[in-house]
Subunit: 334 residues, 4 copies
């Protein structure tokens, strides 16, 4: 850790700060420049509260020399991580199409959607069994039954499956789920992150609605610090003043994350926009800016078929889009 | 539920929607106005996905007639809820001062701070034992040991204690903690909310950094739906573009919440601003606009004493502020 | 205008509101439904303050039946507007590449950049002469001299030119400027909008940093209401909590605007991201999601050449990107 | 200006940067520390583009040693500025109540409101004659006629008047207006700021909806750099994701600004919240946290009288509030 003092820091306060730092068990190297005094902390400074020091009135700023993210940093691991799941590769040039309904509703529904998206080239099947709902009175998903149906559809089609876990205590039910999804609202549920860090299967970690790229990486770090290195990051829109879409899809975070980390980065245009008609343009944009995959909602239920509905695509719309995404990838992938 | 159709909705799509709604087990009353067709759903419509219907292209908007929050709504319960904890009352005209250090660090520290804030008029002692930290490498709190020290300080001073829980599996450790705090990052950890809903002790629920007032109430509803009606809401700043403070303290939410709910609403100016020098003006403002209490960080450690530090107040600063808050309450409380 | 009353609106208040509305010179048609009372205002209601009515405690919501944007609405003008400038077409399937330096600095600089971007396929030359700077002490642009140099470079290369105007009183200097740019900070400078509405030359209107899509269209409407129908809209990033880029590029607004309006929509990835390395991915994404053009900063000055600098591309980077953009257009343009 | 280089900056790039800086006419003092190389620029560096240098890939950060705000900085002018207008003082312990209708509508209306607010203790009369409206089709104010009526009401009651100017070309009409208001949408209309900087009468500068405290100060600096030192800053809410009020009132900016600047800071709770029932609690909060004044909308028109309307207070509500504000000031003013 490096502590840069303010030019007008008094000698007395400076000494007291240096004394306190030494009491914490680090050596302090003082570098006196013409414009600034810089304190270099030598030794293990990890237990010293960075914010506490940064808040002192004689301190200009604090810099951490060692990367705050150790496992997920591109610096420590220059090559792209390729996550493998049931023969499907994600990252490092391997683009992955994940598709399926928002919620698993019935055997008929999930199997039909699974077959359809597989035929269109999807490599993973998604489906929600435990649904994070703002209201306790809204449908919370079919839970264990939903997972069972999803597994059945996975077996039927040979597609590996992805589903969201909301509580550490439900993890035993996810034994046969190929990729564990952590939703945006749980991105900083550190307890849950630690638990999935103990697993040895891929985790799809969605960015929180008000989280920065660095906070997303820190949450990935919680998982990786436990030894689970198969983390897939997912941008799904952030919360802003903007009301033209449900959330604001922040595509620039894709190249920003690719610079900071070796982990694959996918995009969910369905939840980000909340509108089927915006899924196509945003999916193409995500493919063009280098995303490693797309997670898209596809439905086949009668209400949706009734009209152009909500955020899910009809199977034929998804099929057309999948082809376009492949063509964009052909002309933009490095 | 009321579904307002668009003026140009085709007869055919309208019939199909009505058919689908009936299949869901509700009766549909059609009210044909000069400008709009309104479908009134009669019967239990709680399993019908509001967002799904609202997203259809023939639907203008969907309104829920029954309050989405049943337990916490002011409409269903006009009188203020007064939460009681160890003889201390919060809400319904009872103003509560909660104070203590950010983290419990040692017996000496927590007991000294507890004595000091009690002498200044604080009625509850706060102290973090499980700390939600963005980085897995940062200090995570003293955990069970921290809780033990906090309880000791509570017994020593007679102050009931408040501490944050981060995982349902840790709840057994909180048996002697008087008020369970749910932090901002866990405001939509629905599993944890359900678990504390099974308790019969007060829960202090902090607003998420990107949560609306209605989402905060929905999270309170998760707790109350479990039978635990002792919920205290806490505004602690939201995330905005604004960089002059750590978060933007949204004081208008205090009267907004008081209109919507009967639950007490307190304010945490320490975390919201992240700066000791802003705690006083924001605490006075919160008292002036009708908050039911204040949660303020107070420290007595040498690094802070060294300079004006970070977000915690020195005991003597807190003492002065407590007096000012009382005077503001005298001239503003209705 | 349609006024939807709350279910519990008292008869007395209802009558008073209806009376007041009639005094404003409109007829009021009362449609009494089973669930809601709807007042339909017949006649010219344009002088009635929508917000005022919406704020009344007996009013649930107010809807404007006639489009709030008359000239720029897709509904009133289904075909895409194609803006033409010096033989270059923008919109309606015509994609336009606009490039040039942030500021005009010298004859040598602007001519060199103009030649270079023309060779790469750019069709319009941009260059700032009047610079909106947060600080009055920062470089404010070469002003009239800058415009003269820009015109010279335009003549030399045959490229039409684009430059930003900041004050109505400077408009006479822009007589030979082919496209007048209104910057993000002036998007709601209604006086300036009205003035450029009197011109008969294309206006490039940038979205304000905290403006919604509808507010952008309303500002276009100010220009078009004056009779100037050649408006090009430009997304350039919005202000959010997110700190990984200077602004958050909101690409979903491109298809949203295309649905609402017939005006062309271009994207400026340089100002949005503030980082040269992000310009390429965001430019490709913008092309993929259907933007009608790109405005990109290109430099050839020694400081930038020194290292990978700030937000402008080097000529060779721009050349490569222009080719990629064309290929993305080939596979995505409808 | 101080340029802090990254630890891994190559010798060659470093030399090239230093060479370029010298070409710009400054001397460069190199301070080589153990952890960082710091370049100190000696001489006038004001024409060097800070952002350009900060964006270079070998540069860690750039710091400006001299305050970016010269005239409005507390450092350069430690004592509070007291703005005087017609015998009324604002700032430096003088609290100012500004009140009046949103728009001037008629002689009867403005005179009645003026008399009423004067009786309640208001010291300045506000009233809009030029209204910034999102839509060109909305009521734009009575313009010159509105100003004439406002002046008449001012003369009648002896209250100095405040009104918003939207274009430099309208300034001649404001000759007898005592305080010129610059609205939030024009906070970065630098041309208009420069024009009011040439006047020698108080300017009330409202914070832009997406502007930081420093940007607000920079805009004040534009006015003061022209020689007009009578600037009153006004917080009126910022744009955030939060939908419980029209804008999010950022009260913490009041003490933040008081630390950074000597200029008075007032608060407009009417526009910030958009709801009459929130004006009282937010006005009391603003007074409690040290604001130097309040600008509040008061109406006496029949539609508002009809129900609790929109954002303006009834005269009797304002009267009661004014008394409460005085009592809060008595117990909180330092």
């Amino acid at each position: 850790m490096i502590v840069i003092l303010k030019p007008d820091a008094s000698e007395e306060k400076r000494s007291r700060l240096i004394g306190w730092l030494k009491e914490q068990g680090v050596e302090v190297h003082i570098s006196q420049g013409a414009y600034q005094t810089v304190l270099g902390l030598i030794g293990d400074a990890s237990h010293i509260d960075r914010d506490l020091v940064a808040g002192l009135d004689i301190v200009d700023s604090v810099k951490t020399v060692t990367e705050p993210f150790k496992c997920c940093s591109r610096r420590s691991h220059p090559d792209d991580t390729v996550v493998e799941v049931g023969g499907v590769k994600i990252g490092g040039g391997h683009f992955c199409m994940i598709a399926g309904p928002c919620s698993v509703e019935s055997e008929e529904q999930i199997v039909a959607v699974a077959r359809s998206v597989k035929a269109s080239g999807a490599q993973l099947l998604r489906g929600g069994a435990f649904k994070p709902r703002t209201s306790p009175y809204d449908f919370q998903g079919l839970k264990a039954d939903g997972l069972a149906l999803l597994k059945m559809a996975g077996r039927e089609t040979g597609l590996p499956i992805v589903s969201e876990v909301m509580a550490a205590s439900d993890l035993p039910l996810f034994e046969d789920v190929d990729v564990i999804q952590i939703g945006a609202r749980n991105m900083q549920n550190f307890d849950l992150l630690r638990e999935v860090g103990k697993l040895r299967k891929p985790v799809l970690l969605k960015r929180g609605m008000a989280s920065t790229a660095k906070e997303l990486l820190m949450s990935a770090e919680y998982i990786m610090a436990g030894g689970n290195e198969q983390v897939i990051l997912c941008e799904r829109g952030i919360r802003t003043f903007d009301d033209c879409t449900r959330n604001t899809l922040d595509l620039a975070v894709v190249p920003v994350l690719h610079e900071l980390t070796h982990l694959p980065v996918i995009v969910d245009p369905s939840h980000a926009t909340g509108a089927a008609k915006l899924v196509r343009p945003m999916a193409l944009a995500a493919a063009a800016c280098g995303a490693d995959g797309l997670m898209i909602e596809v439905h086949n239920d009668p209400l949706h078929a009734l009209c152009d509905g909500a955020q899910a695509l009809r199977p034929e719309e998804y099929d057309k889009l999948a082809g376009e995404v492949r063509r964009v990838r052909q002309v933009t992938a490095k």
